[in-house]
């Protein structure tokens, strides 16, 4: 073997290591769809709690958020399992993936318990609800963005925090507008952007087999 071909062989091995490490970590990259799903769920909950759906218990404002959020949680869980067990076998868990999932699950449980308790006890008005939702979503987005080093997601956290502040100082109508706008940008628009990024990555992938 000549010195040049030996050097090339060493370079190939280094590149193989880099490619395979990247390949192993790719399992954490497909979750943008959850932003859109939850964005739609928030809109359904807002519409339901504002106007009701006209029939008996369904018109009750207190069931709108818990029922919608529980349904969205079950749907996310079901779809996430289906996506994880893909055609290529079960996607392995990564430490980063588990950390991100833990942040969102813990935030979801905290939000559910707090908002439901405030609603049932009658101690929270609409502005408090919006401020709590926006602040918690801001926290989770910020934590995820720092883990993933994703500036665009940190911008979402800033929008959520701004909505939380606006809700505290504005009127009831302004707080509703702040929530609807934040959901649009941080869930729907960011979710679509995330899905476009994921599709681009999948296209770039190509065959990196050993």
């Amino acid at each position: 073997m000549t010195a040049n071909s030996e050097e090339q062989d060493l370079k190939d091995r280094l590149s193989l290591i880099e490619n395979m490490i990247a390949e192993g970590r790719r399992s954490t990259e497909s979750y943008a769809w959850t932003f859109i799903l939850w964005g739609v769920a928030y809109y359904v909950a807002i519409a339901w709690s504002t106007w009701g759906f006209g029939w008996a218990i369904w018109a009750n404002n207190y069931v709108a958020w818990p029922v919608t959020m529980m349904s969205a949680f079950l749907l996310t869980w079901f779809l996430a399992i289906r996506k994880r067990i893909g055609k290529t076998g079960k996607q392995p868990a990564t430490t980063a993936g588990r950390a991100i999932a833990s942040i969102w699950i813990a935030m979801g449980i905290s939000m559910f318990i707090l908002l439901y308790s405030l609603g049932v006890s009658g101690k929270g008005d609409q502005q408090v609800f919006v401020a709590v939702i926006a602040a918690m979503l801001g926290t989770s987005n910020a934590a995820s963005s720092m883990l993933l080093k994703w500036k665009q997601q940190f911008a979402c956290a800033l929008v959520w925090w701004a909505a939380a502040v606006a809700s505290c100082f504005g009127t009831v109508e302004q707080s509703t507008i702040a929530l609807v706008v934040a959901i649009f940008f941080c869930q729907i628009v960011f979710g679509i952007y995330g899905m476009v990024c994921e599709a681009r990555l999948r296209k770039q992938r190509g065959g990196s087999h050993a």
Partner: protein, 100 residues
């Protein structure tokens, strides 16, 4: 002149190197997932994983999930250390080759 390092022969095989590099990024992985990612055959993959297991670089767990057998592979601390040392040696050798 400093002595050039030797590359670990257990890791040096391309498939074994790919397997360790895949496993370092995940907590544990199924045999089928490793097969898809490496594009290897069942026989070759099994033989290379056995070599890594014998060297103490990967740990194997066999279990049944919904009555189907499942083999999970996880990188050990020894495997992590060996791959780190291998990469360092590789970089040192490349540095020497470029400097020559």
């Amino acid at each position: 002149m400093p002595e050039l390092p030797e590359l670990n022969p257990v890791i040096h095989g391309k498939l074994r190197l790919a397997l360790l590099s895949l496993l370092i990024g995940v907590e544990e992985a199924e045999f089928t997932w490793l097969r898809t990612k490496t594009g290897s055959t069942d026989g070759n993959l099994g033989a290379q994983l056995l070599k890594l297991e014998e060297a103490g670089y990967v740990a194997v767990e066999k279990k049944f999930v919904q009555r189907k057998p499942q083999t999970l592979y996880r990188m050990t601390e020894a495997g992590r250390l060996a791959l780190t040392e291998y990469v360092q040696a590789l970089k040192q050798l490349l540095g020497a080759a470029i400097g020559a």
